[in-house]
Amino acid sequence: MTDAVEPAPQSAPQPTRFQRFARSDLLWSYLRSPVAIVSSIVATVLILAAILAPWLAPYTPFDPATLNLMDGFTPPDSTSFAGHYFLLGADNQGRDMLSTIMYGSRLSLFVGFSATVLAAGLGVGLGLIAGYLGGFVDAAIMRIADIQLSFPAILIALLIFGIARGLIPPAQQQNAAVWVLIIAIGLANWAQFARTVRGATLVERRREYVAAARIMGVRPISILFRHVLPNVLGPVLVIATIGLALAIIEEATLSYLGVGVPPTQPSLGTLIRTGQQFMFSGEWWIVLFPAVALVLLALSVNLLGDWLRDALNPKLRR
């Protein structure tokens, strides 16, 4: 062999981040999946409407000063006696349904997102430790996960919620409700993440690049976070997306049961709970629209998660 240096593959200039994304398999698979396109549009519209509620919503439904009881039970697409127009109608207290849904999904999303981040952080951390250390630590962590998975998540969340209620003084319960809810849902969902990450870690730690790092004397904690973690994050992204949809539904369930956020600060679940009383007296819009919003939100996020799982799985790629 001569000293000729072999050129690096593709002598083209380094592609920018955007170019690399535009050429990626993920975008290609996205553009060929109508389900992914539709559900991402729906999810984006719903999420933007929630985030931008204070600027976009036609009314501020939780400001008592603007409420007019005369507007109560205004049907959808009509103008009340007080002269207000309601696209999706108004509830018993005269609050605009569209605005309450926008504000409500804002809270639902915040709780769902925070709970998923908490569950993912906890699950990934424990899964990494269990998979890498093995032995007793692994057995202990995974048995706790098994026990937890044998209960419905909603039951666990209720339990944690109940304990938190007992610990927090009643005066602060109103303010703490959202945070307790986040912790309850987060703690109820970490096991899925831990299982997946542990499995992936078991595979990765046997890889030769980990052995190479060990020979160099890289510390285990450094191997875990710099070598193993980046390689197990793919499946975590998928579970997190599907987990977000689940967390939103769990929040709605808890709020519907009356143990979630207080009615003064309603989420989608609270809206459905208050709306159901009027279901049989003809004011169907009070329960229907929040329910539709919840279904659309959870469904679109869930379908996105499904698509992501298939797109990231090279075996299913066509």
């Binding site: 062999m1 240096v5 050129p7 690096a8 690049y209 060990r214």
Partner: protein
């Protein structure tokens, strides 16, 4: 040839559509096989060999498909038959032998059931007759006490025995053609020779022609009469085995044949003059090294009942020394303890007994030994796809040892040294900003070598460094390793199942068998005059192209 060929492939094209563009796996190939002939198809990975075999039996995975050309079996066209008719061809007229005998047998059925079912599907026999025939076939394939073993499950057979069963299965329907796709690539050398013999004998006695697909020219040379050389989906050259090996015409074939290492010394002089002073103190000294693995860990209850632990002695009392600047080759079949030996020498696996000394320092002597070892020992792994973290840039991968051992000051010095290392392994320094998946197998292995060099080690353990690579790439990597050895005065421990590679690279060779070092001598002495019977058997079993007349 005046008689009609048994198999005739004309202008075959197999294409895979992918994201708007189409990839041609097989690009217009034509060849014939005469009845009873053994035709070898040789080529490097991605040459389209296996796809040709899959096209003939009609098992191309969608979305791939045959887009042009014709395949005729005994004069009638088969590539356009409906699936139901093609299905009847498989097994009955065309038998298949795949690479991995573990996955080609159904683990849930006894081999007797799998054989008799196949026989009865293709031949009008009663169950008793079919069973008798199965016993005959297995006996013919060299399985002792075939009658008793008929009721065993596949996992109760060793790899070589399983491949005999697969061959018996392929021949059971009395096919006219057997397609064998890398039939021995998953097997050890000593078993490989037997399997080739069985395949050849069975097909000859049953009058079946064979399409033998292999990346190993040695296997083809021992088995086939004629050979087709494939490259990038096209046929480069067709000819008799002797012509292709001794008188290759096409430049690609010439390069391919030249790259194949041989266990013979073809040019007389040893490839490497022993670089170190022979009498100098050895750099590495392994004394009485043993490593056990506990197979069944006892629970507290079992311990109470006094149940014995099952222990595997992976390495038993191995001792050898490696002189500075030389290469010690460690050969042996899978499970012989070569890799376990290597892992104890680089600090990954604590030995059960014995010591590993590096310039007189015990590397397993607490933190002190570890600190000494970390700076001086490195390892190159078999699989360049698994040994580089796919999420890291090449620059970071190569710099990792420098960072872990704090050998470089600051960013710019690290980058300068990484660039220098890339030049040393003949890669463009611009590569440091890229990710491993952008490189070919050979280039990745060079990146792995650059990483090993980056801590300026004295001793590098190379565990099967080229067995995942194609022959032409293997030659480049081996050349590079020799150059670097001279340049830096490196000492290598080279582990390989490929005896030809060891002959080319090593100064001293140790042969391992079932955890023990059975013979250890200078390379030429060992290869030319093996003393231990296991070594003799191993050397005799290697298929080698230099034996072709």
């Amino acid at each position: 040839m005046t008689e009609t060929p048994l198999l005739s492939v004309r202008d075959l094209v197999v294409e895979f559509p992918r994201r708007g563009e189409t990839f041609r796996a097989v690009d217009g190939i034509s060849f014939d096989i005469a009845p009873g002939e053994i035709l070898g198809v040789v080529g490097e990975s991605g040459a389209g060999k296996s796809m040709t075999g899959a096209a003939i039996i009609g098992l191309i995975e969608p979305p791939g498909r045959i887009t042009r050309g014709e395949i005729h079996l005994a004069g009638s066209r088969i590539d356009n038959l409906p699936e139901a008719k093609r299905e009847r061809l498989r097994g009955k007229r065309i038998g298949m032998v795949f690479q991995d005998p573990l996955t080609s047998l159904n683990p849930l059925f006894t081999i007797g059931r799998q054989l008799t079912e196949t026989i009865r599907r293709h031949l009008p026999l009663t169950p008793a007759e079919a069973r008798q025939r199965a016993v005959d076939l297995l006996t013919e394939a060299g399985i002792p006490r075939a009658g008793e073993r008929l009721d065993s499950y596949p996992h109760q057979f060793s790899g070589g025995m399983r491949q005999r069963v697969v061959i018996a299965l392929a021949i059971a329907g009395e096919p006219e053609l057997v397609i064998a796709d890398e039939p021995t690539s998953a097997l050890d050398v000593s078993v490989q020779a037997q399997i080739i013999a069985v395949l050849k004998r069975l097909c000859t006695s049953h009058g079946a022609a064979v399409l033998l697909i292999s990346h190993d020219m040695g296997v083809i040379a021992e088995t086939a009469a004629r050979v087709v050389v494939m490259h990038h989906g096209r046929i480069v050259e067709t000819g008799s085995v002797g012509d292709i090996i001794k008188r290759p015409r096409e430049p690609y074939t010439v390069r391919l044949i030249e790259a194949i290492p041989s266990i013979r010394r073809l040019h007389g002089a040893p490839a490497t003059a022993p670089a170190g002073v022979p009498d100098a103190a050895p750099l590495v000294e392994v004394r009485g090294l043993s490593r056990d693995f506990v197979l069944t860990r006892r629970g507290p209850l079992q311990r109470l009942l006094g149940r014995k632990e099952e222990v595997l002695h992976a390495v038993k009392d191995v001792s050898f020394t490696v002189a500075r600047g030389t290469t010690f080759g460690l050969v042996g079949e899978s499970g012989s303890g070569k890799s376990t030996c290597a892992w104890t020498m680089v600090g990954l696996l604590r030995p059960t007994a014995g010591t590993v000394l590096l310039s007189g320092h015990d590397i397993w002597d607490g933190r002190e030994g570890e600190r000494y070892r970390r700076r001086r020992v490195q390892m190159i792994f078999q699989d360049p796809y698994a040994s580089l973290n796919p999420r890291w840039r090449v620059g970071d991968i190569i710099a990792e040892p420098m960072r872990a051992l704090k050998l470089a000051e600051g960013r710019s010095e690290t980058e300068d040294r990484v660039a220098e290392l890339l030049r040393r392994v003949r890669l463009d320094p611009a590569a440091l900003r890229r990710f491993p998946h952008e490189f070919s197998g050979g280039q990745r292995q060079r990146i792995a070598i650059a990483r090993a060099l980056s801590s300026r080690p004295e001793f590098i353990v190379c565990d099967e460094p080229t067995s995942a690579l194609d022959v032409s790439v293997q030659a480049q990597v081996l050349d590079l390793m020799q150059e670097l050895q001279r340049e830096f005065g490196l000492t290598y421990l080279l582990i390989s199942h490929n005896l030809a590679v060891v002959r080319q690279m090593a100064d001293h060779v140790g042969v391992m068998h079932r955890g023990a070092l059975v013979e250890e001598r200078p390379v030429d002495a060992l290869f030319d005059d093996p003393k231990h019977e296991y070594t003799q058997m191993l050397l005799a079993a290697v298929p080698d192209i230099s034996r072709v007349a």
